[in-house]
Subunit: 432 residues, 2 copies
């Protein structure tokens, strides 16, 4: 029996207990969420021995960091180093999105090294293998695709990202619809190319039952990847995006009916005033399935600073009850992130997630801010550093400037405001 | 006659023409905004020969960078370097917030070097001079304070930040109200200390007519600084903050009646769900006066990453029609920013401002995103770099990874998605 089926039978598993403990909620709350499909548990049943992570309604907003082999310059060692730094920075999951090189070895290494649930996008490997074997990814064999999907599931991934909603009808419509940037999803673009070249329906849609069989067999969570992810503000919330979301809604129902946990992936590029609206739409069309957003980026112009851009959209999304933020690094649109960019990407996403959790009133979320602000008031620098989202960076920034010792922050020079206030208003507090 | 009085008489000045030209609006639109008080023009009449900057309703959201001497480690040369880097990064104004050292010389240098309007907070200098002269800032003489204010106005600053709304009643109430962090504003804390120690009303409130006389004489814009700025989420939107805002409302009326342009300064720390509400409150209580916000920070825990934190709050503020964002750097709460932190602080604020402008539908704002996305689709890398918010950084990030030459972005390795799509969907576009 899968985790979802167990939950539907009213039983609480170890994974649900562990998630409940981490989140500070009742195990029954988690069970109910899993049964309803508003919560998925990544890294649960029959997977590797990792701490399961709950994603969904009423839980802390989670973040994911992507690594993987891309092109000649990549190396497994560097990607492993990125996994380590992403986990140090507090990512909740790792996605190995390798598109080239020794993808099997990279995935094995990822699963060995990562202490968090791992997600993959098996289509990338199937495309790469077809390309190697036949010289072009459009010659990818459907059997090969399903073989790779099962290979990843069997290896122990926690969630499989698959572009199951990209139908021929949607591709044709997108061609007519005059999108500025028709396809920016790597998988979506390749899959569309395959579909058009072979004049065949998307095998992940057409054979969704096979997808479900594998997901069910290994009890792995499905992440319905959006091939029609808008790649610029101009295309946000257009018919292609929404069409695919309606298909996702059907697939969510089918997945649940087959005992398979499922979440939905989302944009991408969205102006601020469409973020909440998009999340609400997903929750409606996809029957409350957890929403896993990529950014979203709220402007197209922040090249080199897309981690900041994504933090803005991510915070709004989390507030609007998106459940899971895929990080965007400052290398987005122009290259592959280095280690420091991975670290900053994770932290930026965590700031967004936490700000959203505070705003949506997640029980306990504000307590962290409260404790840090108490430490600020009490001029307890060590405690401030401990409570900072990234204590190492906080200490580094603080120590970069010679301070006046532990009692002050070096902000005010000789005429420290906090001394004035504590002297005259008779309360000890931090001022800067 | 002041700029405001001229506008009220229906006349359009050179400054209004220049602002209209920069903003792509009609000069009459600017005149009307100035007359109504919903727009202020910084760096206008009788000031230095700088390009005037319009701040307010219907105009592009502006950003300001703060520099200044703080403590022994500061140097005028370093602060001058920061002015240059802030202006290169595209700040609209500079605030010189020196609290120690040779403040006169620093200000003169700032006015010499900056090509944008300059704001100051004269209270800081008055406190420092009192401290030097009498050994304590609480012995600051009221005459000295007004002398410094006039000194700054005469030197040619474009806007004067003054804590005119911090009354004894508000200080007393804040003492009783149980704020977690009663006073985090440097000026507010010192001024409260002075008021309590001397048992006297705030001289900037009590003698607001004298403030207006100076502002009128030099036609300088007033920025009503919030001494009760909340310093943590727990204190956001509390009675102390709102009390002071109601006083600002009275002072806005008085200023306008005296021909003085005025804007209002705001928080600080605010959770996401209080950002729009705070902006709406200010627009109501302060009769549509331009709102100049500091961040706001949407969580207390992002030590070392507060530029990202502030970008989230700034974007929401700009969308909610705040008019002017004071940058926050990644050194906030722990030290003084270095040059790179200044640069990132400005860029983060500009991302926020632009995202807000797009969302609020500012005419023309989305055009920039559209143009950059067109360049992306067309794989025109040089144009993408030119259109990036920070072309230098964009190029640096792009060049950090050896690419596949100008036609590609090095993202996809050998199996480039854009080639598949352009081959099979017969449209040239960028995919990564």
């Amino acid at each position: 029996m899968t985790l979802l089926e167990t939950a539907l039978q009213g039983r609480i598993t170890d994974e649900m207990e562990q998630v409940a403990l981490q989140e500070g909620v009742a195990p029954e709350f988690v069970r109910k969420g899993v049964a309803e499909g508003t919560i998925v548990i990544l890294g649960g049943n029959r997977n590797r021995n990792v701490r399961p992570v709950g994603v969904g309604k009423g839980l802390r907003t989670k973040v994911s960091a992507s690594i993987g082999l891309y092109g000649e310059e990549s190396s497994i060692d560097l990607e492993v180093a990125k996994i380590r730094i992403a986990e140090e920075a507090g990512t909740d999951t790792i996605m190995d999105l390798s598109v080239s090189g020794d993808i099997d070895q990279m995935l094995q290494k990822t699963l060995d090294v990562a202490s968090t649930p791992v997600g993959t996008l098996p289509l990338y490997q199937a495309l790469a293998e077809a390309s190697r074997k036949f010289g072009s990814s459009v010659q990818m064999d459907v059997e090969l695709l399903f073989e790779v999907i099962e290979r990843h599931a069997a290896a122990g991934v926690g969630f499989l990202a698959l572009h199951c909603g990209l139908t021929m009808g949607i591709v044709e419509r997108a061609k007519r619809a005059g999108r500025l940037d028709p396809l920016v999803s790597y998988g979506g673009a390749h899959l569309s190319g395959w579909m058009v070249a072979n004049n065949r329906e998307n095998p992940l849609y057409e054979n969704f039952d096979r997808v479900l069989d594998i997901a069910r067999k290994y009890d792995v969570v499905l992440s319905l990847a959006d091939g029609m992810r808008p790649g610029c503000l101009a295309d946000a919330m257009d018919a292609a995006q929404v069409d695919e979301m309606t298909i996702f809604g059907e697939l969510v129902r089918k997945s649940r009916n087959n005992g398979v946990q499922v979440m939905v992936k989302g944009p991408g590029h969205l102006p601020l005033h469409k973020v909440k609206e998009t999340v609400v739409l997903e929750k409606n069309l996809c029957h409350g399935a957890p929403y896993f957003v990529f950014g979203p980026l709220v402007t197209d112009i922040a090249v080199g600073y897309d981690q900041i851009n994504a933090a803005i959209g991510g915070a709004l999304s989390a507030w609007a009850r998106a459940d899971f933020l895929c990080y965007v690094t400052s290398a987005e649109h122009v290259g592959i992130p280095d280690r420091e960019q991975v670290r900053e990407g994770v932290i930026a996403a965590r700031i967004a997630a936490h700000a959203g959790d505070v705003a949506k009133g997640l029980p306990g979320a504000r307590e962290w801010d409260f404790q840090l602000s108490m430490a600020r008031k009490d001029l307890d620098w060590e405690r401030q550093m401990e409570l900072a989202l990234d204590p190492e960076r906080a200490r580094k920034v603080k120590n970069a400037r010679r301070g006046r010792g532990e009692s002050g922050c070096a902000m005010c020079g000789r005429y420290c405001a906090m001394e004035i206030v504590s002297k005259y208003l008779r309360t000890k507090r931090h001022v800067c």
